[in-house]
Symmetry: D2
Amino acid sequence: MTETAMVTVDFEIDEELPPSQLIYTFGGHAPVMSLRPGTLLTTSTRDCFAGLVRSTSDLPSMVCDPRFLNPQTGPFYIEGAEPGDTVAVHFVSIEPRYTWGVSTTVPLFGALTGSRDTALLHPPLPELTWIYDLDREDRLVHYQALDSDLRVPLPLDPMHGTVGVAPPLGEVRSSLTPGSWGGNMDTPEMRAGATCYLGVNVEGALLSFGDGHARQGEGETCGVAVECAMDSVIIVDLIKGSDTPWPRIETDDYLMTTGSAKPLEDAFRIAHTEMVRWLMELLELSEMDAYQLLSQTALSPVANVCDTVYTMVCKVPKRHLRELSTAYSGKHGELRSLAKAWAS
Amino acid sequence: MTETAMVTVDFEIDEELPPSQLIYTFGGHAPVMSLRPGTLLTTSTRDCFAGLVRSTSDLPSMVCDPRFLNPQTGPFYIEGAEPGDTVAVHFVSIEPRYTWGVSTTVPLFGALTGSRDTALLHPPLPELTWIYDLDREDRLVHYQALDSDLRVPLPLDPMHGTVGVAPPLGEVRSSLTPGSWGGNMDTPEMRAGATCYLGVNVEGALLSFGDGHARQGEGETCGVAVECAMDSVIIVDLIKGSDTPWPRIETDDYLMTTGSAKPLEDAFRIAHTEMVRWLMELLELSEMDAYQLLSQTALSPVANVCDTVYTMVCKVPKRHLRELSTAYSGKHGELRSLAKAWAS
Amino acid sequence: MTETAMVTVDFEIDEELPPSQLIYTFGGHAPVMSLRPGTLLTTSTRDCFAGLVRSTSDLPSMVCDPRFLNPQTGPFYIEGAEPGDTVAVHFVSIEPRYTWGVSTTVPLFGALTGSRDTALLHPPLPELTWIYDLDREDRLVHYQALDSDLRVPLPLDPMHGTVGVAPPLGEVRSSLTPGSWGGNMDTPEMRAGATCYLGVNVEGALLSFGDGHARQGEGETCGVAVECAMDSVIIVDLIKGSDTPWPRIETDDYLMTTGSAKPLEDAFRIAHTEMVRWLMELLELSEMDAYQLLSQTALSPVANVCDTVYTMVCKVPKRHLRELSTAYSGKHGELRSLAKAWAS
Amino acid sequence: MTETAMVTVDFEIDEELPPSQLIYTFGGHAPVMSLRPGTLLTTSTRDCFAGLVRSTSDLPSMVCDPRFLNPQTGPFYIEGAEPGDTVAVHFVSIEPRYTWGVSTTVPLFGALTGSRDTALLHPPLPELTWIYDLDREDRLVHYQALDSDLRVPLPLDPMHGTVGVAPPLGEVRSSLTPGSWGGNMDTPEMRAGATCYLGVNVEGALLSFGDGHARQGEGETCGVAVECAMDSVIIVDLIKGSDTPWPRIETDDYLMTTGSAKPLEDAFRIAHTEMVRWLMELLELSEMDAYQLLSQTALSPVANVCDTVYTMVCKVPKRHLRELSTAYSGKHGELRSLAKAWAS
């Protein structure tokens, strides 16, 4: 595939569509568009509240229908994708569509509260909304306290909380849930410049994404990041005959594996066994040698500790591993070059 | 306290002492020395195997007595320390004593194996030993695969896995365990330049530390880092009338809280509620405002997922929080200056 | 509804259908039949392997397609059922269809092995098949050891591992998974004489059930009970305007709530908060008084510790609570009488 | 040992001793008395609040010092006990000393509340005290609601929440904690007629017990049972050369293993792997055959889901296993006969 051969496609979302007509699941919907591998797609995503929470007096439980949270753009049918293949999604650019973002607390949702699963007798914490000014020029996100005058400018660091394909076993899963198919992983690593690898479970893969965050802390502790609509550009590609059991991410600097499960140590175990296997393959190491090398080199940041299951990332710096074969035959580098060519 | 007033004390450990005569608990032992707050202490620590695992043919289960693992230097009696106070330990320098480090797997220990608590029917994974060359001049740690020729130079990044005081409730706890008293937290953040804050539970606090690592990955996945004896310099200080429920760490760049518990999400919850409270205090924020700010700014790296309980770190960048009051009345900055003065 | 008014319907399953044509999800399929509330249904269910594992030389990984495990009978459309209502399923009779049952181990499945989520580096435990003779007359299930001559007659205690309705949020869930919609709860309490209450999420509820067990231990420790095809008789009824957030079970002797989640303490928390709320309602107690009463009276048996999430039961003896209002206006007693009338 | 040879010893506790002078740890204290194996001991235990909570207006946080909760009777030095041996404690009789018991809620303690480890931002649940009338003649425990007139007579079912020996690794553990040494397991199975087997970690074993409950639900959900002082009679015996890694219980009807850990599934895993091993030994089964048999026969009741770690019980009915060798060479039967002889 050469730069000149790259197909560029635009998929415009209709911001007038009411929340009830958007897509909230992975699987279960007919594709909105078919894409050839290698296509560059420009599109946008609506925020997790479908734009309904716009001021500090809008509370999610008042203005949103709980059935209609976290709408996704897609699903896209990837031509030629079959179970056993891997879809590569390279994030070329992720830019806030507007000059504001929003965060809230949500009753019985978040890491530091009783929840639907961690069911306790406490009444819910207060439900509150914070509005953030987004300064796209200076790349800042402005936190404003509700109960004091404190205002803190934070770096803008846009990313997608949700990216995934249709799940296996004929399941249809809510966009609030992460799993082996991707979904609501909520890791800040899913920013522009990253390539996400997703194993294909059904013909055409049925890729969707959304849940833009102007930034988030690791863990997404209160359950809600700085949510905003995004204008995003991705390149979608296909790796035939290579499976990816759990989502992986590659950047210029890091190889990353993810795992989503509860308790959180199980998410850690998944991500880290996946990395042991990846290092075995890329460095031709025995299992125990890979386990040892990972033990001394891995970074292990939390992605989310608030969703229906939690997500961990295992992150190995490429600079330590000069003997590393390129992953997926160099797919990340190839897509990175295409992205740079397109941008220039 | 002024630089000239700083007392400098040396506590030499006897490397000839057999493992059976070393200290393996927090609490339960008479102090080896009494220190005035503000004292700079030069000392050393033995490696977690008390030096018995020295070649790839030494297996822990063969050469070590399971009762004698992870010896500590101390306990030191801190003059004037009482329950309700906080001990501040500033790590001035942590340097490998020798030119080698060692890592192993240990039967039924580590994150990716059945264990004593995660009791399964699998036979243990293989027990193996890796020896690392430590190049102190070039600041490198050399990984050498056992089953192939792969050799990987990794950055030297020395730290102490274990630092703590006597626990509350009259308990005596093994140095293999982390908890509210500190202990075996195994976070790579405990490196030179960091100040660790520990709440005092008994008169004199009874501070000990050890478990030097030439480096470790987050999670200490296989259960064993690049273990080595250390020459360490610390400054010990006392903050009267200020309690610290769970260990905290401060560096020039970060405020950090820790939590140690199982499941791993409970360790996350402890560390992150502690940080909510710390931000409330330092920024005069309401609880919900602090929860929100943390949610968009925290880094949440794992410390260990192998010990008897697991440890998480919550890490907030100071550069984002210019309005922050200094923690513990500026104790970290003060100790940092003393350390620099001593070093020059 | 009176006994004479009870509609009796037979739904015959076609045992010649190949596994690929059976139903393996809750949600996602058109109903096979519509039932009026109060209908007595005679039907049967295929075993969890769709009959493919018949001798000790049949291993699931050899003879089964992993996409086709745990087929369900249904879904049945319950006339008039809408979100906010509760379906009551009374098990009139559950009888093994044949004179044999089967259990196996399955690679990376079960409570005492690494698994897909508790991802470890161990190779799987051996995959083995045990065949049980079922003596329906003497009500015995005969265990036969594979590696010795030991033969143990155990009481026949037939039950359904799986019973549920379509899930909320447009999800379609595998029949291998339990949750708020019921599904693969795998509790031995789901035997003849019990009434199961399930909250309705979609119009018509879409009730299915299956996974017959000639008996099982609590926890279903190895992941597989004494699996067998069943001839079952149920009465299906509808309670309008009364929601049931998590499945409940009532017998002549016990009120039971269930919760399905990981870690196992979350399943416990769900089941026990649900029981606190049920006791508040039935005994007109304050929340704290109900919490206290439950704390001194609940039995808390495990259902399963092997499925994708785990299930706990909270079980309160009715004999202790003579002042108890009847649950769901006496629905269990009503269905029990109908069942007795039908049987005689 | 013959009945006539049985030594009978009385250890009277001084009810006038203030709480600060009682024993609150396993390990860390000199023995109060030395016992020859086979000794029948009559003694008593104070309630978990050392008698300070006596009316509904006494709240633990007001009247108790948090350092002085759950006092133990002991430690008793068992003559001849060495690491590698097992102490057998047969409960001959456990009788409430007075006609009242007490339960409370305690801030941040219990299964359905945020806690010290499950650290959340909720304020604590209300702290309340319930007083129970104990009717020893009619064997009833009278629950009285605080916020209504409901009064419920429940069966008296006295037991000890805490029984244990000194822990391994030189640790001293609070009596609030359960573990491999026993301690605060809080299982209702520890009633008269049961024999508890505990592995010895230090010379003389250093047996203690306490925490009498007039009854408790499984899980001890709110964290506090119907607490009362007890008059208890035990026979202490020693099994040389036989180790017991985790506490076991035997009654006339059941073999039981226990495990204490977090998350709760780890407690389940410990108890059930221990039972697999016990069945292998007693029935001369292979590991996989024992795993299978356990999977179809085990009862798996929760003990506690409130203490610092949680406790599960695995319970196998002896009546199913007629070919079973007697455990510990018939120690339970022997002690049972002695107890009957003494009683008559």
